[in-house]
Structure formats: C-alpha cells, structure tokens
Symmetry: C2
Subunit: 133 residues, 2 copies
C-alpha cells in the first residue's frame, strides 16, 4: 500500500508544478489548496528537499520550488523518495536479509515479475501527465 506520505508528496509535487512559474510557493498555500495539515506536509517536504526533488528558501517571500522542470520528474522517483520501498514483498526490498530459500522459492519469480511491472508503470508516468494545466 502506498502511504499518505507518498500520496501527499505526489499532490505537493503536482501543486508546485502547476505554480512553477510563480517562484517560491509557501507551504501554507499548498496546504490550503490541498486540504492537508501544514505541519504534516513539513515532514513530507523535508524528505523531498533531502532527495533533491524540491528546494526551499526560508524567510519572508520564501517557500518551495521544483528543482527541475515538471516533465523531468517520473512518478516512480517521487514515490520511491517517500516510501521505504515500492516492492511488493519483503524478500525483494533493498534492505532485505538474504533468504536461504530464494534459489528454490517457487513464488519469487512471480513477485519479481510484479515488481518489474510496478517499476515500469510508475517510472513510465511523468509528473506532467497528472497536471490540469
């Protein structure tokens, strides 16, 4: 399941994309438009900054802004910046302990195939595909 962090992050990115030409956008405005608690969005945006997806400027007149043009973001990279993993099963997560059964596991190929499907889907979609404007 995609958590609220991933979903809200995507909505923040959409919101910033739609106001990309307006310079730095205060988080208050995003929170208002999206109907999400500003306090909670702070946590989310912090991770977006850490992942170099957006940049922030403090002080009056400050706010957040996309680092690149909207068409240069894939949905996949936005989600993976927020979620521990987009992987369907723990065995395939990046931090997974090596499983002694993996070589004989009859279900592993299924999960791997689904993972590829998921990866291709979300990396194939771009932020611009979700914009209203």
């Amino acid at each position: 399941m995609i958590s609220t962090k991933g979903r809200y992050a995507l909505r923040v990115m959409i919101d910033l994309a739609e106001h990309h030409q307006d310079g730095y956008i205060p988080l208050k405005d995003v929170a208002m438009r999206q109907g999400i608690s500003k306090k909670y969005l702070e946590i989310i945006v912090k991770e977006l900054v850490a992942g170099k997806l957006v940049s922030g400027v403090s002080g009056k007149g400050g706010g957040y802004k996309l680092c690149r043009d909207p068409e240069d973001y894939s949905i996949g990279e936005i989600l993976e910046n927020m979620e521990p993993s987009l992987t369907a099963v723990a065995c395939l997560a990046s931090d997974a302990a090596p499983c002694p059964r993996s070589s004989a596991c009859q279900t592993l190929p299924l999960w791997a195939e689904y993972d590829k499907l998921t990866h291709d889907f979300f990396y194939g979609k771009k932020l611009t595909d979700l914009l209203n404007i």
Copy 2:
C-alpha cells in the same frame, strides 16, 4: 506490501497442489517442507478453509486438501482471501470512506489504472503456473 499471510498462503496452496493426488495432507508436513511454524500456518489455513479454497478433515489420517483442481485457482483470489485488500491506496479499498476530493483528485486516475494492472496480473496467473511438477 503483500504480508507473510498472503505469501505463506500461496506457498501452502502450491504445496497442497503438488500433493493433490495424495489425499489429505497433514499441516505438519506442509510446515516441515516449507519451513514455516505450524502454529502460524494454522491461522492461515483457517482463513483458506473459511474462503472455501481448501477443506480440512480432523483426526488420524486427516489433513487439508484443495477443494478444486489446481488449474482452477487464480493467484489473485488466493491473495485476496488473505490480504485486507490488494489495492494500492486506501481511497480505493472496498471499505474506504467516500472521499470528498475524489471528483477533483488529480491522482485518483493513476491509482485506479495501477489497481487494474495489479488485478489483471494476479488474476491472470494460475496456481498451476507456479508448480514444479
């Protein structure tokens, strides 16, 4: 993420399918072969019985058996019997509260498309596709 319940249930179903001609299989044997605690498997198999995917017989000589032929099970129905939902986001789960933003939500179509992809993938795969024999 698919939980251990879903993954173990699938492995139980595979195990039962591969011994389908041997009549009723004691859970002890499945637990042994799969390297999973029998106590935990009891919980899982109980749900498989409740979902009419397998049937159990008590007493000496008893055990569990598939209700149908292996080719008549899709992976999707096995997983959905165990997981609260295969849906990627809470908004689309069957027990979800109606979201006031859904009509204007810019991300909903994305999640819906991914859900369809997931559904088609797991319902397109059959239990027989995972068997060794």
